[in-house]
Every structure is written in structure tokens, then in C-alpha cells.
């Protein structure tokens, strides 16, 4: 039995490929993403409020390090192996070092339907992971010497929609606590999976519209869009093992490492590395990696987490 939300994604891709007369109005897509971001934040905040968080700082630092490290692997692959232009390689590396909130949401729904718990701080780690890859990507494109407007970039990143809503939700959930959020649960928590279904329907349509680009830009990008997440997921699993995460948390960190940004990073790259072609990075991130993670990656990463947990736990 397949998760119905995944089926919505398949419906979207199919409708998109068939060029059906179907699209979610922009305003609805925005509402849906606002709700997802707030809900993920709120849930995290409520969980954090419930229990003392030991060792938050080392975890955040370790995850930050991973965010800096992943594009260091991705860039050379793209630049030398893929012979891409410097700016394009840097931009794509930044996308893959950062994270996709939509993929994370699907992974939590996947865990929930299997009653597998996970560490309360995951939404915080998600938020933290958005940033470092952007910095590395810009440095690859520009070097340290040439003038990037780091101030403007900082605004764009830290005051972008995703970080503001994730952090805002986290703080509200944490301040209100489990009792406090009760009255807003029907909108934010009960509807979560339905909203996620609508989101995936639209993501399917968007994915389909990026497949054409891939057909033109050849197999390298497609291969990268599958292999890089696999590599990332291994890194995420190993790091989660070192940090002593549960199976659920391990699978989520693997998913984060495997996922590629399509909101925060594209926006930042348009501003800081405008000569990079956004069509390429989005085709890889939305056309290949998102569907790969949602359809194949997530169950795989869970299996890997279960196996690795048993190895290191036993």
C-alpha cells in the first residue's frame, strides 16, 4: 500500500507530462507552503518545550559542519567531472548542500504513518542546514577576493520566507507549549497531511515542467541528481549515528543531507551568483532529486537507518 500523499505527487507528475489543464493558483501554493513551514516549526517548538535538550550546541555545530562539507564534495564533481561552468557548478553545489523542506515534510509523514518517533530538535537542524551551503556556493563562484554584498545576502537568507516561518513557528510552539497550541491544532496539525497532499500535487506539476530541460541537458545532471543524494544520505546516517540519534532522527538527517533546496537557495543564488543558470539547478533539484527522494529515497533511508542503528547499537 502506497502512501496517498505520494500518489498525489504521481498524479501531479502524470497530469504535468500529459499537459493536463491543471494547476494550483499561485496564492494557494503560497498558502500551502506557509502552512507547511509554520507547522514544521510549531511541531518542533512544542516538542522542544516538552523536554530538556541536552547537547543542542554540539549537534547544531556538527550539522553546520555537514552543511559546509557537502558542497565541497558536490562542486568538484560538477566542475571537473561534469565540466560545468564555474558559476553553475557552485550554484548546484549550494542547492545540494542545503535542504528541501518539502522532502523533510514527506519524510516526517512517512515516519508518522509507521509510528516511528524522532528527535525534537530536527526542525531546528533543518533550519540551521539551510544556510552554510549558500556561503560555500558563493565562495566557489566568486572566491574570497571579489566583492559579494554579504549584507544584502544575509538579509535575503535569514529574512527569507522559509527561515522566518520555520524559526517563528519554532519559537511560537516553544513559547506556547503543548497546551497552548491546542486551539490552533485543527488548522496546523490535523490538516498537515492533507495540505502536504496538495503541495505534492503541485510539486508533481512543477517536476514535470522541469523534465524537458533534463532531456536537453543530458545524463550527467540526472546521474548527479541521484548519486549526490545517495552520498548525502550516507553522510547524514553516519553523522546521526555519531550524534546518537534514534532510528527516526537518523533517517531524517539522512533525508536532509540527501535533499536539495528549491526555495531558499535558488533565491539566494539569483542574487549573489546571477550568472548561474537557474534552469539547470532547478531541473536537477526539482526534476530529479525531489521525485527520487520522495519515491525511492525515503524508504531507502529508513532501511539504511534501521540497519545502521542495529549495527552500531548491537
Amino acid at each position: 500500500m502506497m502512501d496517498p500523499i505520494i500518489l498525489f505527487f504521481v498524479l501531479g507528475v502524470t497530469a504535468g507530462i500529459l499537459r493536463a489543464e491543471l494547476r494550483l493558483p499561485t496564492a494557494i501554493y503560497e498558502l500551502v507552503s506557509i502552512l507547511l513551514l509554520l507547522t514544521i516549526g510549531l511541531k518542533g517548538g512544542v516538542e522542544i518545550a516538552k523536554q530538556p535538550l541536552d547537547a543542542l550546541l554540539p549537534q547544531v555545530s556538527a550539522v553546520l559542519l555537514m552543511g559546509f562539507a557537502l558542497p565541497l564534495v558536490a562542486f568538484p564533481a560538477l566542475f571537473w567531472l561534469g565540466r560545468m561552468a564555474r558559476a553553475d557548478a557552485a550554484s548546484i553545489a549550494a542547492h545540494y548542500g542545503s535542504v528541501s523542506v518539502g522532502t523533510y515534510a514527506v519524510a516526517t509523514a512517512f515516519l508518522a504513518s509507521r509510528n516511528i518517533g524522532y528527535e525534537a530538535q530536527m526542525p531546528l537542524l533543518l533550519t540551521v542546514l539551510e544556510v552554510p551551503a549558500i556561503i560555500v556556493g558563493i565562495l566557489f563562484a566568486r572566491g574570497l577576493s571579489r566583492g559579494t554584498d554579504w549584507r544584502a545576502l544575509g538579509r535575503e537568507v535569514f529574512l527569507g520566507k522559509s527561515i522566518v516561518l520555520l524559526l517563528g513557528g519554532l519559537l511560537i510552539g516553544w513559547a506556547a507549549g503543548p497546551e497552548g497550541v491546542k486551539p490552533i491544532e485543527p488548522l496546523f496539525f490535523d490538516l498537515f497531511q492533507g495540505v502536504l497532499a496538495l503541495f505534492l500535487l503541485e510539486m508533481g506539476l512543477i517536476t514535470a515542467s522541469h523534465l524537458g530541460v533534463l532531456r536537453r541537458h543530458g545524463v550527467f545532471l540526472a546521474a548527479f541528481g541521484v548519486l549526490m543524494p545517495l552520498f548525502g544520505s550516507v553522510v547524514g546516517t553516519l553523522l546521526a549515528g555519531l550524534l546518537g540519534f534514534s532510528v527516526g532522527g537518523m533517517m531524517l538527517l539522512a533525508t536532509l543531507a540527501a535533499s536539495a533546496s528549491y526555495i531558499a537557495v535558488p533565491a539566494a543564488m539569483r542574487i549573489s551568483v546571477p550568472e548561474a543558470n537557474p534552469t539547470l539547478s532547478l531541473a536537477a533539484s526539482l526534476g530529479i532529486t525531489f521525485p527520487f527522494n520522495v519515491l525511492i529515497g525515503i524508504p531507502l533511508y529508513l532501511a539504511m537507518a534501521q540497519w545502521w542503528s542495529s549495527v552500531i547499537g548491537g
Binding site: 494550483l24 506539476l205 526555495i263 539569483r270
Partner: protein, 105 residues
């Protein structure tokens, strides 16, 4: 004719929605006395921009101003954005009501 009008220029720029705030800043620095923005979608050299979601929409920015300001703005926009962004820019003549509203800031 009973209505007092004067010759001015309509500068129209169609570009990526992501550029909105920086383009507006640039236009105001060039002396644009005002602007009007519409959310649009379209297709050009850089492919279809379909407004389906955050990054992929276009905006159209109209500025009514005198010829000098229009040319200054056009040159600035060309130098700063034309290379790397999906963008077109056009100029056309317009008559305006209350010309004093459209002198550069």
C-alpha cells in the same frame, strides 16, 4: 482641447519577480517619480516563466517620467541587470495629466 497634457515617456521593464525590490531601488535612485507593478508571466530567450510558484513568475514595472530620467534608468538597468536576468525593456511616448507629478525625485 480642454485637457492639459505633456509629452513624457513610459518605461516598461519585464523581468524576474525575484528582482523586484532591487529593481525598484535602482529605479528610484535614477530619479523615477513613481512606478506601477503587475504580476505577469511569459516567455522569451530564457524560456517559459509561468508564475506557477515563487521563483518562476515575472513582474512588469511601468515608470512614467521625462525622457532624461527614462534614458538614465534604462542605461542603469541595462548595465546592472540585463546580462544575467530574464529581462526586456521598452520605451514609448505618452501624454500625461498633471506633468508636475512626473518630474524626477
Amino acid at each position: 482641447m480642454s485637457v492639459n497634457k505633456t509629452d513624457y515617456r513610459l518605461l516598461t521593464i519585464i523581468t524576474e519577480a525575484a528582482l523586484e525590490s532591487r529593481l525598484i531601488d535602482a529605479l528610484e535612485q535614477c530619479g523615477a517619480p513613481g512606478y506601477t507593478i503587475m504580476d505577469v508571466r511569459g516567455k522569451g530567450d530564457r524560456g517559459v516563466r509561468s508564475a506557477g510558484w515563487d521563483q518562476s513568475g515575472n513582474i512588469r514595472v511601468d515608470v512614467v517620467c521625462d525622457e532624461v530620467t527614462a534614458n538614465r534608468a534604462l542605461a542603469h538597468v541595462r548595465d546592472r541587470f540585463y546580462e544575467n536576468y530574464a529581462m526586456i525593456a521598452t520605451l514609448s511616448p505618452v501624454e500625461v495629466l498633471r506633468p508636475e507629478k512626473f518630474s524626477p525625485r
